[in-house]
């Protein structure tokens, strides 16, 4: 610590200290006096006779103006010394302040409010400690990174931007922030090695991460010129937090008729915690569980029976689970889920006649999920079909040995034929077709035995980019699923049976196997979207929510938990993608020009944090970036308190006084 911190070099000091003698000298120089004629200088001469003095000190005796001027210069010299006390300055010249504003930073185990407030306070101190000429930038990260202020020497601007940082509800991922910081700090680097051109000299920077460390280590990252400093933000005592890390409703009517809401409560504290969980349905208490004990660092599941509720459900309903008492992080003490009224999936099967499919579709589980319509191949040339297909009135269309002119706005399955266009290609038909392998874990054929199927004729399939092979024969893929925008096309190169001039001819014995009805059930459940109708998966804050409104609705209003309305229309894939999901809570999807008096909302969807890592608010003592351990720094040295601004104000006051005295002729 030093009392003075000079900003001038010896030459500057020499020049500054020459000024006071110059002022004195100027006072001895002949003034350029204004000539004036007077009737007689007799009285004036007599008057100045007494004041007229010859010696230097007598002349200086009452020259207050000169003394004020010298005082001002000396004060300026003092200000240049930057007198101050206590505190240190930051070492280095370039700083990157990385502020974590993820959900865990809303924990209130610190004195200054939330952890984010504490982080902002500490960054403010760091900005104060910057030396003149130091440059710094300010970045904020959660699971995305945002440059709040690029490199600047303007400390006021940095502080202003620092004040604008707001708490987010997102989980944490520091990788994007590190990449952005590295890109800005090491300007010569590019993301790929190809075409890497040195565009500027890389300058070493200090990367200061203000976070609770609630993110995974980033090891595949090279710091380059970045020198990391980790300022752990958190309270002195171990934090207490019990958070809801999952809330779901079992919605598969085929598994069980019982309806239950399952919740997972995670205790990240160092001690066992006992909480009570209350389930609200449409803001009214529906059920509660007291004294749920969660061991330290463990999770427990609780369930609430909902069968009675579902029996009478005919409109979209919101469910809210609240854990009490409040702890250091309240954001994860509330979770939401929604139950939308069941709607049957619309399945169209265009076929010349396929008994196997008819039988498979006639099963009870499928009847519960979908409304299946069979049409002949001529139907796809009708105007009615075109309109319905374009409007997205179908959830799944199965084209049996036929292909439409244009693809419908829904998921499709092709049997013995391929979608129009060049994306899909069939090879020559092969005979016979032994099955070599299949994608066992895919939801459509999960847990099925397919190797016992015999297929007579099939063709090798090549699909567009992103196509997944489901069943492979010895000569290639014979069943594959590929993306088409927001839809999926399942293509099976072998028909179940063919109808030729020779008559009905069986092509495979798969319909006689147990796996076939299961496959059809999975098909309706997954591709027709039967699984989504009852409840909908919760989105994370900031994640894009995909909404599939009824076909008749082309434009919807989405109302967030703060009652802000967003108008959104379908995209080219006939879906609605909504990205303004920053706030956790229940979002209402309603027809455009919605009002509660005229029509109920179409559906709800919920946004929840549901991140065990984020709910774990224990402060990490060490990070690892690029395999380099970065230990936490909890000590925050105060900024050096400097008085030069006050001295400059004093100089200003002295100059004003000098001006006043000169003009008012009080005393010279």
């Amino acid at each position: 610590m030093s009392w003075f911190n000079s900003v001038l070099n010896p030459l500057g000091w020499t020049l500054l200290l020459v000024v006071p003698p110059l002022i004195v000298l100027l006072y001895f120089l002949k003034l350029r006096r204004r000539p004036i004629q007077v009737p007689s200088t007799y009285l004036w001469k007599k008057a100045i006779e007494d004041m007229h003095v010859n010696s230097l000190w007598q002349r200086l005796r009452n020259n207050l103006l000169m003394f004020l001027q010298i005082l001002a210069v000396l004060l300026i010299a003092l200000a240049c010394l930057r007198p101050g006390c206590e505190g240190t300055e930051l070492s280095g010249e370039r700083f990157i302040f990385l502020v974590d504003n993820s959900a865990s930073m809303s924990a209130t185990d610190v004195d200054s409010g939330s952890r984010l407030d504490e982080a902002k306070r500490q960054v403010g101190i760091m900005i104060d400690r910057m030396k003149p000429g130091d440059v710094a930038m300010l970045m904020v990260f959660s699971n995305k990174a945002e440059v709040f202020q690029g490199f600047t020497v303007n400390q006021n601007l940095l502080k202003q931007k620092l004040g604008e940082i707001e708490q987010s509800h997102r989980p944490t991922d520091v990788r994007e922030a590190l990449n952005a910081a590295a890109g800005l700090a090491n300007p010569g680097r590019t993301s790929t090695d190809a075409g890497d051109v040195q565009i500027a000299d890389a300058l070493p920077s200090t990367l200061m991460i203000f976070s609770d460390g609630g993110f995974e280590n980033v090891n595949d990252f090279s710091l380059g010129n970045l020198t990391p400093e980790y300022h752990a933000i958190g309270g002195l005592l171990p934090p207490v937090n019990v958070g809801i890390t999952a809330l779901a409703i079992n919605n598969d009517p085929n598994i069980s008729d019982r309806r239950e809401a399952f919740a997972q409560l995670t205790n990240s504290s160092m001690e066992d915690q006992s909480v009570s969980a209350t389930l609200f349905v449409e803001d009214e208490v529906f059920d509660a569980q007291d004294n749920v004990v969660i061991p330290a660092g463990r999770s427990v599941g609780i369930s609430f029976p909902l069968t009675a509720l579902f029996a009478q459900l005919d409109t979209a309903t919101q469910l809210k689970l609240v854990v009490s008492p409040d702890d250091d992080m309240t954001e994860d003490n509330v979770a939401f889920t929604v139950v939308n009224p069941p709607r049957l999936a619309q399945v169209l099967i265009v076929t010349p006649g396929n008994e196997y499919l008819e039988l498979a579709m006639d099963t009870e589980p499928i009847q519960k999920m979908a409304s299946v319509v069979f049409e002949s191949r001529d139907y796809i040339t009708t105007e009615e079909y075109r309109t319905k297909a374009f409007d997205g009135e179908f959830d799944l269309v199965i084209f049996d040995q036929c292909q439409p002119e244009t693809m419908p706005n829904c998921n499709t399955m092709f049997l013995g034929d391929k979608p129009p266009g060049d994306d899909w290609k069939f090879g020559d038909k092969q005979y016979p077709t032994p099955i070599a392998d299949f994608f066992r874990s895919h939801p459509l054929i999960n847990s099925m035995q397919l190797t016992n199927i015999t297929i007579l004729e099939a063709a090798k399939i090549e699909g567009p980019s992103g196509t997944q092979s489901l069943i492979d024969s010895t000569y290639g893929t014979i069943m594959a699923i590929g993306p088409r925008g927001g839809f999926q096309d399942l293509v099976c190169s072998f028909p179940l049976a063919t109808f030729t001039d020779d008559g009905f001819q069986v092509n495979t014995d798969w319909p006689s196997k147990l796996s076939f009805p299961l496959f059809v059930q999975n098909l309706v459940s997954n591709l027709a979207g039967g699984a989504r109708f009852l409840t909908q998966d919760s989105a994370s804050p900031g994640e894009i929510a995909r909404i599939s409104p009824p076909p008749t609705v082309s434009r919807v209003q989405i109302i967030n938990p703060q009652e802000t309305q967003f108008s959104q229309s379908r995209d080219k894939n006939n879906m609605i993608q909504f990205s303004q999901t920053e706030l956790p809570g229940v979002y209402t999807v309603a027809p455009d020009e919605f009002s509660t008096e005229t029509a109920p909302p179409i559906q709800y969807f919920a946004v929840n944090l549901f991140d065990p890592q984020e709910s774990n608010i224990n402060v990490r003592e060490e990070l690892e970036i690029g395999f380099e351990p970065v230990a936490a720094t909890t000590e925050v040295l105060p900024a050096r308190t400097e008085y030069w601004k006050w001295i400059i104000l004093l100089v200003l006051a002295v100059i004003i006084a000098e001006w006043y005295i000169y003009n008012r002729r009080i005393l010279i």
Partner: protein
């Protein structure tokens, strides 16, 4: 007195009412004012001055008959005394009534009425040409006003420009009729004095031996001092009045900044940096200068009066000079 009184009465009536329409003197006055640009005396001021007369604290022997009583006995209507008749006395003054009662000749004596010498000495130095109006203009106006009072009272009036090229040529004026001459002369007086105050007064004292009132109108701004000048006057046993004329900017200088003051007379230079302290010092010096002059005059029986050019001449005469006893 006998010949002037009708004119005086007429003039007094006319000026007092301010009605010039039927008076030849007033018409002449206006015409002259117009022609010569004479603005020394306004009709109102003239009307005011009509009623005044110059008063001397001393009684001097006049040269001609005037309108003021003399210690000398002479011809007038004012009875003074009797004395015994001696042969040769003018029989017209015998008191025949007494002779009838006492059978003795007594001669009636009357107070002589005489004129008065009135000198107005106007400082014509360049320092007088300062101020707005200039001190010189003010002095000329004052001299003309006092001179007019003298003319009206049939005194011998002489207005002398001190140190000027006109000095020594000033006419002795008498009687109201000389007003135009006086005004013309005063108007044409230049402020081109090239002699010191002492030299000019010495020259005046040598040339003019008559007793009477002398009014010195000056700013006393003479680097050689004024005591020698006043001494010349005192030695002449005159009734001396000093009217010290200063302009307001000399009394309260409105100066600021760093100045080079040039003496208008001798080009002397004084460099000053105006400050409150200097202004205060100047005021002290001026007050001391005035006080010294007042004391000097008081000790020598000289009536001293300081005036500023912003004080109207009529007010100066009617109030201040009346208080000092110069006029009544």
């Amino acid at each position: 007195m006998f010949c002037d009184s009708p004119t005086r009465r007429s003039g007094k009536t006319q000026f007092a009412t301010g009605n010039f329409g039927h008076d030849s003197n007033a018409e002449n006055f206006l015409a002259m004012n117009k022609n010569s640009g004479n603005n020394l005396l306004t009709p109102q001021l003239l009307a005011q001055l009509e009623r005044m007369e110059l008063v001397s604290r001393k009684i001097f022997r006049g040269r001609m008959k005037g309108e003021r009583r003399s210690r000398r006995k002479g011809q007038s209507v004012e009875f003074a005394d009797y004395r015994n008749y001696v042969p040769g006395d003018d029989l017209r003054f015998l008191d025949w009534n007494l002779y009838a009662r006492l059978d003795k000749f007594f001669l009636k004596l009357f107070l002589e009425e005489e004129d008065l010498h009135f000198y107005a000495l106007v400082d014509c130095s360049q320092s007088m040409s300062f101020g707005e109006p200039t001190k010189f203009e003010y002095a000329k106006q004052l001299a003309a006003a006092l001179g007019y009072i003298g003319l009206v009272r049939a005194d011998r009036v002489k207005i002398e420009p001190l140190g000027s090229s006109y000095a020594g040529q000033s006419p002795v004026l008498r009687g109201r009729a000389s007003l135009w001459r006086m005004l013309d002369y005063v108007q044409k007086m230049p402020d081109d004095a090239n002699h010191s105050l002492a030299e000019s007064i010495k020259s005046f004292a040598i040339r003019n031996t008559g007793k009477g009132i002398v009014v010195l109108i000056t700013d006393l701004m003479d680097k050689d001092g004024y005591d020698q000048a006043l001494r010349y006057l005192v030695s002449r046993d005159l009734d001396i009045y000093v009217i010290h004329v200063l302009s307001p900017v000399e009394i309260e200088p409105d100066l600021a900044g760093d100045l080079k003051l040039t003496d208008i007379e001798d080009g002397d230079i004084a460099e000053i940096s105006v400050s409150k302290r200097l202004i205060e010092k100047y005021r002290e010096t001026l007050a001391s200068f005035i006080e010294t002059a007042r004391e000097y005059c008081s000790k020598r029986g000289i009536a001293y009066m300081m005036t500023s050019t912003d004080r109207p001449v009529d007010r100066l005469i009617s109030r201040y000079l009346r208080q000092r006893g110069l006029v009544r």
